[in-house]
Subunit: 455 residues, 4 copies
């Protein structure tokens, strides 16, 4: 085994083999051959090539050896050059004249990359929809499950777990929308060596016919036709990278939240681990939140990769020195991470275990101090800001729990404090009973409705 | 002067003071105060606060000292805490009860950042439209100006400068569309300490009223209302960052192209420098393409900044430990760079000098070898691929220029090569005369039409 | 105030004004003037200029206006060009002929940046030494304070807080070593317009004299002399950036750990907040770990900035189009963040509050399951791996706490399990009493000793 | 082929298969097994395990299937867990008790990564030495070959190609020094589940013996022993990543320079392409600087990857949620790019073609204006700054070439200008004859001497 360059995913436990295969070398090679076949077919479509020139990609692919192409890619700096050389021998005679006609390496590789990206994005989107469904369920089921809201690492004020799930949901919806709308716009590339389509126009017998050919080419590939070539306008690559980073970051946030809330001392959430998952090589008692860990890791890798794509906007001339080449493995890696993250997040959210009892216990750890902000509001309305603030401070500084100290202070205060309406309002506020909190139902409903609208 | 932390742009020659002021500390402070005023006003709008509670931001701002706020921001880790404390004294009595009511620091800072971003994006967009106009003119005027297409640093095949300008144009249009559609979606933030709006609901006398108040608040700020708070869903920040990086990268590409094409040995383009621009501290003869240099520099800085924003998607709990804070200066810097780049690119494109004569001279440097691809196509149609390839190789390897060698080879070949139709076609192809190249007119027209559609 | 570009640190609560001033615009301007003065002085040193040409930087600086220079920097794309123009008028007649003689803008700006960096690095180093002292104390004092070791968010096995502090210490020592050794190597730049030193050689009356002058120049600035100019060899900038990112990341890790361990449910650490620190604009009970939050934020910003510097290694020709310019604000920001982070980490570690009781309580949360790995080892020695594993699993699966279940299982097992030596070993292992754990004392002592060696 | 996740380098034409194999999945798997064998051996070394426990890594590896391990890595989130399970069956009975004893997954994976890194770094270093030798030769041979120095894209002043090669050389030396000194410090990892080495101490019969075992373990692996574990102190990873990014960036700069200087219109350098290299899929005449292109691409990818490593400094607790996992593929990719870049740069520099004639022709393009800075210096010495500046400007603005205009102006000026010494000096300066320029010989010699000192 040693001595080969084969990568099988040993260092990428996130992405399953099946998902990774969508963006593997073989997938790219297949896509390149599909693109070459589509070009031949497009010449048929515009009736420049005879009908029998049409050729199936599988026929073209018959004798192509991935390893040999990969090896030979070095000579010209890209895999298309040796691929076209290899295809010369496998292309049927009737198709041969139209092989790679008018195209440049970048046309083939860019179109193939978009084909691969389009399929990967579709697979990611399917899993994102699964995440969405799971989160709708969690948001709805736990809309009234009280949980401590936490800011800057500290318990802050009560919230519900449903609201948290709705916040995840809303973010995933945005990410999915971004990814889908980007994926729908992925363009074919066919502009010739310097983007003028000169040889295409010659071969197609005129610029208008060439433009028609380009449309057929895109249509055959299920990609969008853009009149302007984009050899050096890499907008779509950055948009796609950004959408992927957004999706992975959004899912990573869920992982990070789950990992935090499943800390031993918090224990509010836990991954529904299958047998054999979450174990340790050393500690027999360990149940690690593996999916959460891997999602967090994924989200830490995407920003740098996105940065590389954004850097490649600096693409000079009609094909740049390196900017284009730097995109290839970078975009592929983003797609691979995206595939892994979406599947992992789906499994995570579909099997997430929620411990409402621990949530309630944790809420009560600080003796009701979490209600201080709301109590201030209530007292302020009755007593004004200054006096309210003073009373709250007194209650917080008391040796008793806030929940005990504040009513006691009110009871022992003068007649104004003894206002029964105030006492009722304070009592009603100092509770951790299940129920909506503030606008939580409105927000949860809105996110669920948005999911419905986007579905 | 020494001993102060004041930054005046010494290390940022790209952004003018006026543009930088749009996103400077003072702009952020003003925006925060506007946000606080809008919150008070929104209480009036829902008729919870009396009409005379309404207060102008300028009134609130009267006694606020930027330096003191900046200094005090350290204590609580953000500038809103000392700002609210300072506003307590400047707020008129009628308004005082509603000051910061139900809000959390992040509501104020996020809304203010969106306000600042929205204004900066509008200013960038104005300059991008200027770039678009200038590029339309360049693309149209030079649609038939022949220029060498270049790939991987080498002259490759003929193109026109108009097509290059159209390619820049198309990319700028995409960037502008991205930025505008993102800017239109910038949301207000008002969700309270843990995103539940609990105190807002209390203060507004019910969740529905609180939701109404949030709409009024957004409306007053000219920002979008989103029911879901986004304290930890940072999608929009990444989208905005991505749009800015896209714009700056796209403009940087223009700068890079201009710098390359204005190299002493190429000389096809030059910046229309004003008096006092482009000089050197050492070399009296230098005319440096300053705007191009600064645009390239700008585009090298944005990917890392975008990466930081994407990293902050990992925002845990209801307010994260650091992810949020890391966004502030990063987004601001992206906005500042965007402002500088758009203005510089506008000046660059509006004053770009095109030297069609040098373009033509450079085209002819290789004795017509740039036509080899097209000549291959023409010969192939008459003679088949193998024979065409052989003849072209022979002509390229000849001691004569390709432009001379190929016709000579054809003339001296057998009767088949002497085909007058072929000779005509080859002669027509081996020219650098002004005119459209391949699909160039179709592509240029499409990009110009797209500009019209987006205007 | 509105309408100006002045930045005073409103969005950077981490860095104090005093620290920020070390790297502010005024500091850069001063440094540039010092560099120009040093160049004049170096001409005196090699006895080409008369002694009375020597001029103090303060004299040169007298009439220089930062705002005007910043404004004028746009024309030539860097601030040195207008600075030299301004200095022409303030330079005494005897010095005037030697002003900027033989230098290029980049010589001045690069040398000034190194001067600023060298001073900032020294200040950072002072604070890092403070951190080191505080961590030595924490590591030593708490070397036997038991704490739960945690991996992948879950309690895993016992450790001590002293060991954690020692791990922080060891990392800070590495970071400090990196920063110091890099800072000692910061070079002066003086190589002339294209790195040949041609005019220097003319002005100094020969290449050897020019080389001598360059040495004197570096010596005057307290920077290292390198014979090779480094206009386009940006190694040292990346090394410096890497050292800063390392320092900030290392301190950020401390912040992240403190924030986690001060979570409400964990409560093992807390920041020793001064009055007025850690408050919230909404929640009166909040005590936020502000320094930890800001340290984490700092460490999230440095990777992207470091990436920008690494990207600028691609510096073409003898002065590149943009790569150099992109470094200026990026390096400055890294220095500013480093200054802020070092000071904040010092305050944090010097005032850190350790709650050994909470550590102990948390350790006991899982009924001794944290000892499962160690118990496996002990049982394995007596009973072999298979049987040990089985017993441990049984104890972990029992309804009783592991700490109770395992001895019970041993006691109720056959004669082999009743081995008193085994029972003793197990009993000894199943404890959370204060004391060293594994190699903890050896590791703590080694880290403290390393601190001594590096001091 | 389709449907598998196998990557063979199709999208990475830079790295040869042989080089890539050094860091491929198989290499990592082998290294992990070597690490497990070393641990067993270290128990023998300290005489806790019997001599016949010693086992060869090849024996352990016999039945281990890479694909199966990669597949199973998902369950526990890392490949060590299934690997240890697999090794249980292949380990000889005498060795079995010591397999993975006291270790945690991270010990194995980190040590294996360092082993892989150490071998890759050694291979990179060999190629860097090849680059150094080639550059010494180029610097020496062309020390007096005149070439235009260029700044900000414009010809600026004369230099020599030897000086450029020396500048590359000096940078490569720095990069190599960085990489070598980092590689020498790569540490073994063996600290147990939470970094305390508790089970190691038990198994080794005491902390001192465990420390001894750790030393033997590191020694067997040829790695450095560090007393402090580094599960969450990732300094060395960032240092290694930084050294790799530095090396790749430095080599990328050479590639970028070569690509620029081999532009059709400049033609001063070209890659010595082998048959079959540099071709195009479309343009028969093309000779692309493939190595330069791929080197530039490599250098564009490293900053983002380095950023990811720097981000992983934020590693909380005793094993972080994701930060560690994000390092694996990132470091590997940096190593792979480093291997490819070093080999490509070696081939590039060893075969670089220098066209001194084109250099000379290009130098003369601007009629001697490149000498304006130096002429100013010479005139200033005789006539003072103001008058010199005026004359130079006059000469630059003249219709004649500067080289003609300046002597003419001097000749036609008054008696002062007719000073024969001045005329001689100007004539001597206005030349492009081969020879040293300024300090070029001193700098070239210093860089070559440094190479000798480091060799």
């Amino acid at each position: 085994m040693s001595g080969t360059r084969v990568d099988l995913g040993l260092l990428d436990p996130l992405t399953t083999s099946a998902a990774a295969a969508l963006v593997g070398d073989a997938a790219y090679l297949s896509a390149m051959i599909e693109v070459e076949a589509a070009l031949i077919g497009a010449f048929v479509d515009i009736e420049v090539a005879p009908a029998d020139a049409e050729v199936d990609a599988d026929v073209l692919a018959a004798d192509v050896d991935l390893g040999a192409i990969a090896l030979a890619a070095r000579g010209g700096g890209n895999p298309v050059i040796p691929l076209v050389a290899a295809l010369r021998s496998s292309t049927p005679e009737a198709s041969a004249p139209w092989l790679h006609r008018g195209a440049t390496s970048q046309d083939i590789l860019d179109s193939a990359a978009m084909l691969v990206a389009s399929r990967a994005a579709a697979a990611i989107s399917v899993d994102l929809r699964g995440v969405v469904r799971a989160l709708i369920e969690l948001a709805d089921e736990h809309r009234h499950t009280p949980m401590a809201g936490r800011t800057l690492s500290q318990q802050a004020a009560p919230t519900t777990f449903g609201l948290r799930a709705a916040s995840w949901l809303d973010a995933v919806l945005s990410a999915q929308l971004d990814l889908d709308t980007t994926a729908w716009r992925l363009p074919a590339q066919l502009a010739g060596s310097v983007g003028t389509g000169t040889v295409l126009a010659d071969a197609a017998r005129g610029p208008e016919q060439a433009e028609q050919l380009r449309m057929e080419f895109a249509e055959r590939l299920g990609l969008v036709h853009r009149t302007a070539g984009w050899h050096t306008d890499r907008t779509i690559i950055v948009e796609l990278g950004s959408a992927l980073a957004l999706a992975v970051g959004t899912l990573g946030r869920i992982g990070l939240d789950v990992a935090l809330l499943s800390r031993t001392e918090i224990g509010e959430l836990s991954e529904g681990l299958a047998a054999g998952e979450g174990g340790s090589s050393a500690m027999p008692q360990k149940r690690n939140p593996v999916a959460s860990v891997l999602l967090s890791a994924a989200a830490r890798r995407t920003p740098g990769l996105l940065g590389t794509l954004a850097g490649s906007l600096l693409a000079e001339d009609d094909r740049p020195v390196g900017a284009w080449h730097a995109e290839w493995p970078t975009l592929r890696e983003l797609l691979r991470i995206g595939l892994g993250a979406a599947a992992a997040a789906r499994a995570l959210t579909e099997n997430l275990l929620v411990d409402a009892t621990r949530m309630r216990e944790n809420l009560e750890l600080t003796g009701g101090a979490l209600h201080a902000e709301r109590a201030t509001e209530i007292l302020t309305r009755h007593l004004g800001r200054a006096r309210a603030g003073k009373l709250i401070k007194q209650a917080l500084d008391s040796d008793d729990d806030f929940q005990v100290a504040l009513p006691a202070l009110l009871a022992s205060g003068g007649p104004e404090l003894a206002d029964p309406e105030l006492a009722d309002a304070v009592r009603a506020a100092l509770t951790f009973e299940p129920g909506p909190v503030g606008l939580s139902d409105i927000i949860i409903d809105a996110s669920i409705a948005r999911a419905g609208a986007l579905a």
